[in-house]
Homo-oligomer: 216 residues x 3
């Protein structure tokens, strides 16, 4: 694996856009909540949980030292900064801002999944476990936020195929890796597949159906 400086720069932009998008989405969700009335601490706390919770959960499960988000402070600073922005300017966030957040989140979804898989594989975990840890990296933060807000994770409910897009990204990456592609290629291909699936699903309203008895 050789990553030239240009690739690293592109990946960093994608990654930290994703962290910022997660924090913004979490903070705006907290501000929009009607059941609980969150204060400053709640909004910032939920911003951090949404942005960093997935990677922290992954690192706690892998157990090779403190979570990356605690050792490399850029994660916390970006998440914290985005949370502050949402606190200060969140009340004027119109549909266009939400759209930008949605796209940054969609673009980073696959990237986070692939980053999670790589990290788990590097730590010596078997492929199936790495795959699960990739999905946890991608959807864990939002899910933790949902549970902390007193509801079930949205990614478990019928609707947008969020986890399936993350799974596609992971599978494309793993196939590319197996085929001996350079890791910058397989990472890009994986992340792009996830993004494309999310865009197609939004465009053509592909939704996962409920599988409960009550839906039969």
């Amino acid at each position: 694996m050789t990553l030239d400086l240009h690739t690293i720069a592109v990946f960093s932009v994608v990654e930290f856009s994703g962290v910022a998008a997660g924090a913004l989405a979490g903070a705006l969700e907290a501000r929009r909540e009607r059941k609980y009335q969150y204060d400053l601490v709640g909004v910032l706390g939920l911003a951090l949980i949404t942005a960093l919770g997935g990677g922290i959960t992954r690192d706690v499960l892998i157990q090779k030292g403190p979570p990356l988000a605690f050792m490399d402070l850029r994660y916390m600073l970006v998440a914290f900064g985005a949370g502050i922005v949402a606190l200060l300017f969140g009340s004027s966030a119109g549909p266009r801002v939400l759209r930008v957040i949605w796209i940054a989140d969609a673009a980073s979804l696959g990237f986070f999944s692939v980053a999670g898989v790589s990290r788990a594989l590097n730590a010596g975990l078997p492929v199936l476990a790495a795959l699960i840890l990739g999905l946890i990296t991608a959807v864990g933060g939002g899910s933790l936020r949902d549970v902390v807000m007193g509801r079930t994770p949205r990614v478990f409910e019928k609707g947008e195929p969020y986890t399936i897009a993350a799974l596609l990204a992971v599978l494309v990456f793993l196939v590319g890796d197996r085929l001996g592609w350079d890791r910058s290629i397989s990472t890009t291909a994986g992340a792009a597949s996830g993004l494309v699936l999310k865009l197609l699903a939004a465009r053509f309203k592909w939704n996962t159906p409920a599988v409960g008895f009550h839906a039969e």
Copy 2:
């Protein structure tokens, strides 16, 4: 401790029946849920959380490397397979199927508690901490599932003496261990005690009472 191959085989059957029972119970619970409408990802996710969440929590707390359920893939494959079965055939699960799941779960309850205690003792934890970790192994998966589904853990509520059966199993195991019994004997005795208590409690409707003020 000498476990002959026959004992190991019996223990494996009990253990993986328990994993399968947990996954089936979790998936069926998700399908039966009325407040949220789970999709395929939700049903499989809740199956994995129910089946593996207790052991994973234990291993994260013990901190001797990645959880067993991530390193020994049989756990994940059995849980995943049972989740798929519940997805495909769950809608025709009648009272007889639920009864089989109940028995497999009851038979494995004590076994999981004892396995959790052993693992914690082997990692050098004190007996009281090991006892708590044994209970977490046994009831943690179902409790995590309950919280992820937006409710309090059922094992904390009045009713079936689930945790008390797990506690009995642990105590019998620890006494046997202290008396120098072979570990296959003390494990079997512990697991059997838990099962017998659950069967008696179901037969004679022994329930734990509420201790809240509102119940006074």
Copy 3:
């Protein structure tokens, strides 16, 4: 850092009063709950989670071995003992008892934050991460209890400036540490600042405001 025996004794009294206060508060909260009817296991479980959950979460995130609360049994015994007391005598807990619990909790809030920061710094984490881990130590147990009881953490909602008092304690401690104060001094100053802020906030009804859109 030199802690004489007298200082260690004072710190231990503050710390274990705090553990007991957390367990009492958790158990009484469980007994007072109306949505769920907790049994003996639920009340004791919620007492342990409230008292020890913050420190355990911190230690799981720091990843330097099993949580302190599992290795030093005094934590578990104090929490367990306080839980039993709340079970036996909780129904006669009047406003005076609740007031004593409130004060023990307020006195220990800053202490726990500072203890959490110290432990994280000793483990080699950067200051910002240590600060967050200090706050998690102080407010994590109560928050975990809230989530397990099916609601959002109270420290995230408008009202008492609980987390802000913990943050003040941490900042005073870090400034003192940077100025080269003896750690027993900076710990005491930090913990005292948190207590004073909590007392002033209660006296003058300083509350954090909601920042949600619905509050605008």
